[in-house]
Symmetry: C2
Subunit: 461 residues, 2 copies
Amino acid sequence: MSSSAVAYARQNYPRFLNELKALLRIPSISTLPEHKGDCRHAAEVLAADLKKIGMENVRLIETGEERGGGHPLVYADWLHAAAKPTALFYGHYDVQPTDPEDEWLSPPFEPTERDGNLYGRGTCDDKGQVVAQVKALESLLAGNGALPINVRVLFEGEEEVGGEGIEAFVASKPPELKSDFALVSDTELFAPGLPTLCVGLRGMIYTELEVRGAKTDLHSGMYGGAAPNPFVSLAQILARLKDENGHILIPGFYDDIIPPSPEELAAWQSLPFDEEQYRINEVGSKQLVGEAGYSVLERTWARPTVDVHGIPGGFIGAGAKTVIPAKAVAKVSMRLVPGMTPAKAFAQYKSYVEKIAPAGVDVEIRLIHSGDPCLVRVDNPYIKAATTALHEVWGKDTVFIRSGGSIPIVGDFDRHLGIPSVMMGFGLPDDNIHAPNEKFHLKNFELGIESLIRFLEEAGR
Amino acid sequence: MSSSAVAYARQNYPRFLNELKALLRIPSISTLPEHKGDCRHAAEVLAADLKKIGMENVRLIETGEERGGGHPLVYADWLHAAAKPTALFYGHYDVQPTDPEDEWLSPPFEPTERDGNLYGRGTCDDKGQVVAQVKALESLLAGNGALPINVRVLFEGEEEVGGEGIEAFVASKPPELKSDFALVSDTELFAPGLPTLCVGLRGMIYTELEVRGAKTDLHSGMYGGAAPNPFVSLAQILARLKDENGHILIPGFYDDIIPPSPEELAAWQSLPFDEEQYRINEVGSKQLVGEAGYSVLERTWARPTVDVHGIPGGFIGAGAKTVIPAKAVAKVSMRLVPGMTPAKAFAQYKSYVEKIAPAGVDVEIRLIHSGDPCLVRVDNPYIKAATTALHEVWGKDTVFIRSGGSIPIVGDFDRHLGIPSVMMGFGLPDDNIHAPNEKFHLKNFELGIESLIRFLEEAGR
């Protein structure tokens, strides 16, 4: 597996790491309007680096003009490998918010090395993986003088807020996205040292469920017992979305699910996974929850869910305020699995909530964003090239897993461009993405770059 | 009903109103630490005025040293009416927070006259009524040269946060509180122009119910379906506190209730009250809620309640964050009625919640504050003096009502000082206390002062 590109990468890791740290210091939180400038800054830094390493046609593509301007896409290409396939590299430079701020052991935007890991917001999700892609390209261009296949790069800055901009761009089927497959680096290894390809993703709908009672906030002493309390009504609705065994109560919600094949279920059973260790080390709750009769992997990869993320409104300050708030809002999302569609799931949910809404209140349900679930066929040539490359770098056979998360762009690439995705990512299950103390294993940054180099070399054979 | 004091009051209303406005401009929000200085400022303004009008022994009494210092009490007395009874005047200078700020038509701390009302936070609850007390004393001292009975004044600044400071002071039975009855001005007329004495109050417990799941926030894609969601669990608990007909499900919660007498219930039925008008004008919801088989007045005066005021924790920003929060907290209060005690109600609630807590989460219930319910006997001589005075000023017989709210100090006066309270207040049911656009009817400020003057004159006969 010696290649000039790999040798180049090994010589340049310290600089690669410093460049990653510089990108991590930019607080590109896409959901917070005050960080809009930071998102653009991160895009500009990536574009400048792509240009510097020899990629061509580098530019920012503006998005979301109709909504007052979104975060830009970063585009680049290198198309001089005649008669070779074309890969579309995808990653995202935006990150999640950092609350609860006080639980971080080191500042979220000051990347810090501890115990072989790099801590900071975006280290794993997804700047560490984006930079691994760029540095693989740099190593190939600098070490070999050329890329083994044609490459287009498309990074986005709205992955954490629904990806509206990139979806619109991809849906327009622009000529600069004509490719044979996508390389998506936003997933994780199943276990440390175990090469992994993700071949299935859950979809999702993210909604706001608003309940309104009185026309204005009321004193709970004067009006308690006669005025509707939207928080109580909201709790009654939420409590009827799933039962205490985790079974979703929305009529028809499970009807269209395509279950995993017996072969896939058997492969999952042979994965190195211990539910009790997972409970203790990753979740840390006194017990796990969810649907009876399904393993944890089935529940998180192949079964739909309902989760509540927060309930804005009302009095949330310190101390006591005796108010019956006029309204309450719950942020509710549902993960969807192959066979389900966001449109049908949302319609079923909306119709059910309107039916069970308690007396005295009005309900309104807003769809914030959605994404299709997806499954990748494992017999395509790019998956085969990937498994060959991964075996060389990691010394082990690749495991095929799914992810419970949603990468809506994978569905968009399939639907609009007709190309499959190779989801090759190097996070670890305990990397705390979306949570305090997010990290990226430093060794995985290095082996990730090597894996990407070797994958392109295999794909170009 | 001509009296020199009433004549003095009528000549000085414009100045009285200006003095009230000056007090209203001080944002003495007791629950917010950043307004601690404002609370003291309000207390100092009241103390200075009490001194100026001729009250004696005026001073601030510090509270809450054990909790780092609370808001001070304001004390004053005038004890030169030999062989006459002694009244203990009570009111509070602290106010509720102002959120939601954007619903105020004029700034909460810039008192504004519109349509015969004075708008602003604290106009009705309770600065308008406190100032009415002070100006009644001023009118008697300046117009008659003396008070008709002995008077002690005790104003507090922690009514909206549980009244811990005044309760400790009253519980110590200090000699300066030795009195024959309390005059509490923190209630309302049943209807415009209808003289009203409040003779019953609900008690309350105000709690925080915390639910904890995973050890840290988790990604809802990766962990959804296996990790407990504290918001969902909290909703399941809240939904089981009362059923959809408003019946509280906590075992034993109704056992000790002393229902109103048939006479009291009959009197309530003759009050000018229309449930449909109340729904439209005061509540503004599409229908009223609550226990079947009880009128609105029974449900709000003589039945316990459960209300939820807000659910801090989780993601409450704009947009979407796909997190399973590690914990969720609900601010939950219950109103209690005669026969119930805060200690027993809290114990029943806590034990029930611990029993019904869903699998996978830990629950913790914290008592923030509490107050006893109370009933006043209507055959005491001070109630009789009050009804005589009110008839002279308002030209109508007094109606005896209860309030659904809690004034814990009334129970404290009874329990620790052994004195009854005359709850004579001049708010109106639509004064928006604890809500945006709080107001006080200007005519009620004037007639309130006259009523207090005449009441003291009657009590001194």
